[in-house]
């Protein structure tokens, strides 16, 4: 892979004698979507605050494109577009006026660039309305637009899908995909929801109690050749099956490769089993997440 865009080196944060982030180290490569997964209170926001220079780092260092966030603030922040927690914008201004505010703060942001960014997040129709009339999804998109103005190398978004409905979440997800594909940006997103992360990210770091527990490529889970498939069947009158399966409520689960699925359906039908539904079971990552976090809990205790 390419160059590291963000590097955390032994980052520790202590607030009032309490270790909130404990010796966190990882790197984020060019063009990847990096997920930051952890239960509430794990320290995701705190880490992101340190990355964007909103909080002092107790020890260790954070480099953005090789620039130290604390010592070379302006140079480092030039490469970051971020939203920490909710995208709070000036409600009494229109979307466009909000963008102008941020455009004025950075040299070389043209009107053309603003229009392009607005187009990108799909707010062209409403951009001249006051922000207080926006829905949460639109605010999120305006927040996204606001951090894209200066073409940053890396976007840092704290819980960008928080409070959004599925359509809104999907929108954000599609936008992030487009950003990494078309502009080669890296994206860091945090979330406590695993299912979301699974769909968005290339890699996921799991943190708990301020400690890094695991970093995994999402690919590893999703493209596993064998997967469990869920067959909703008439379980009462199940004849003997010469295959290994697991009975779950009103259904059976069979581990199969994708190619084998039609054959299995055929087989079950031949046996006279009535099939109501067939779907892959994709909870491997969730299992893994629960597994590692509970292990961490025990370890912690």
């Amino acid at each position: 892979m390419g160059n590291p865009v963000v590097e955390l080196k032994n980052v520790t944060k202590v607030i009032k004698g309490k270790k909130i982030i404990d010796n966190l180290s990882f790197t984020i490569e060019e063009g990847e979507v990096f997920g930051f997964l952890g239960p509430n209170g794990a320290g995701k926001t705190t880490t992101i605050r340190m990355m964007v220079g909103l909080m002092k780092i107790t020890s260790g260092e954070i480099l953005i494109c090789g620039k130290n966030v604390e010592k070379e603030f302006e140079e480092a922040l030039m490469n970051i577009g971020g939203i920490v927690e909710n995208p709070e914008l000036y409600k009494f201004l229109t979307g466009y006026q909000n963008l102008m505010q941020y455009a004025r703060m950075i040299k070389g942001v043209t009107k053309q660039k603003i229009d392009e960014v607005v187009e990108f997040v799909g707010l062209t129709d409403r951009i001249h309305d006051k922000v207080k009339t926006y829905s949460l999804g639109m605010r999120q998109r305006l927040g996204l637009a606001q951090c894209l103005l200066h073409d940053p190398k890396v976007m840092i978004l704290d819980e960008p899908t928080n409070g959004l409905d599925p359509a809104g979440i999907r929108e954000i997800r599609d936008h992030l995909k487009k950003l990494t594909k078309e502009k080669g940006m890296s994206v860091i997103v945090s979330s406590h929801l695993l299912s979301e992360m699974e769909m968005m990210c290339d890699r996921i770091a799991i943190i708990q109690n301020g400690k890094l527990i695991d970093i995994q490529k999402v690919h590893d889970y999703v493209a596993e050749s064998k997967q469990n498939y869920f067959f909703e069947v008439d379980i009462e009158n199940l004849p003997f099956l010469n295959i290994s399966y697991k009975k779950v409520e009103k259904a059976i689960e069979i581990e199969l490769e994708k190619d084998e699925v039609p054959d299995m359906i055929q087989l079950l039908i031949e046996k006279g089993i009535r099939i109501f539904e067939v779907k892959p079971v994709t909870k491997s990552l969730e299992d893994r997440f629960l597994e590692v976090t509970t292990k961490g809990e025990k370890f912690h205790a």
């Binding site: 220079g53 603030f73 302006e74 970051i80 709070e88 009494f92 703060m105 606001q146």
Partner: protein, 206 residues
């Protein structure tokens, strides 16, 4: 830096609260203009002999001066000055300005400056605090701009806002004053007592 100040300026003026403040200032000036107009009317209808009145005043002040004990030096000095100014009026035939002109109206309106100061204080108190209230401070502080520049631009904006409110009072009262009361007729000389002498002054030099 200049752009940061533009940003702050826009932020202040896009809020309804600020517009209300400016409107209040202008209303105050208009209110004073109405009151002054009514008072002027009153003065016109009286039409007294000013020399006689001034002479009476001098007599009264001299009596008071002789009764004042030596220890009240300040009071004595004030009275002496008043007598000197009044005597100067009689000698040079300068009637006291009773009737308002545009110039005196501006002077009256200068009392509103403390009102403007109050508004500036409100703006100054909010310019950093409300960014925290709105949560916008997070987006502001993660710009690639040093913190001191952001704070400095906020400070400069507050100073500019203060100057702006003063300018509003001055300009509005000048326009109203000259339109309603005229520039006066050369009798509007202001007399003051400096270095043991009575001098004639323009209102701007007070």
């Amino acid at each position: 830096m200049h752009n940061l100040i533009v940003n702050e300026w826009i932020n202040i003026f896009k809020r309804p609260g600020t517009i209300v403040m400016i409107a209040l200032l202008i209303l105050c000036v208009i209110g004073m203009a109405i009151l002054t107009k009514l008072y002027n009317h009153h003065v016109h209808s009286e039409k007294i002999q000013w020399q006689q009145q001034v002479r009476q005043e001098i007599k009264q002040d001299q009596k008071q001066l002789s009764e004042t004990p030596q220890t009240a030096a300040n009071v004595k000095k004030d009275l002496e000055q008043k007598i000197a100014v009044n005597q100067y009026r009689l000698d040079h035939n300068i009637p006291p300005v009773k009737e308002s002109t545009g110039w005196t109206f501006i002077e009256d309106c200068s009392h509103l400056i403390s009102f403007a100061g109050l508004f500036t204080i409100i703006i100054a108190a909010g310019i950093v605090a409300s960014e925290f209230g709105w949560g916008t401070v997070k987006l502001l502080l993660i710009r690639p701009i040093k913190r001191y520049k952001i704070l400095l631009s906020k400070y400069i904006t507050v100073v500019l806002f203060d100057l702006f409110t003063l300018a509003i009072i001055f300009v509005v009262s000048a326009i109203l004053g000259f339109a309603l009361f005229g520039t006066g007729d050369g009798n509007n000389v202001h007399l003051s007592y400096t270095n043991g002498k009575v001098v004639e002054q323009n209102i701007f030099l007070i």
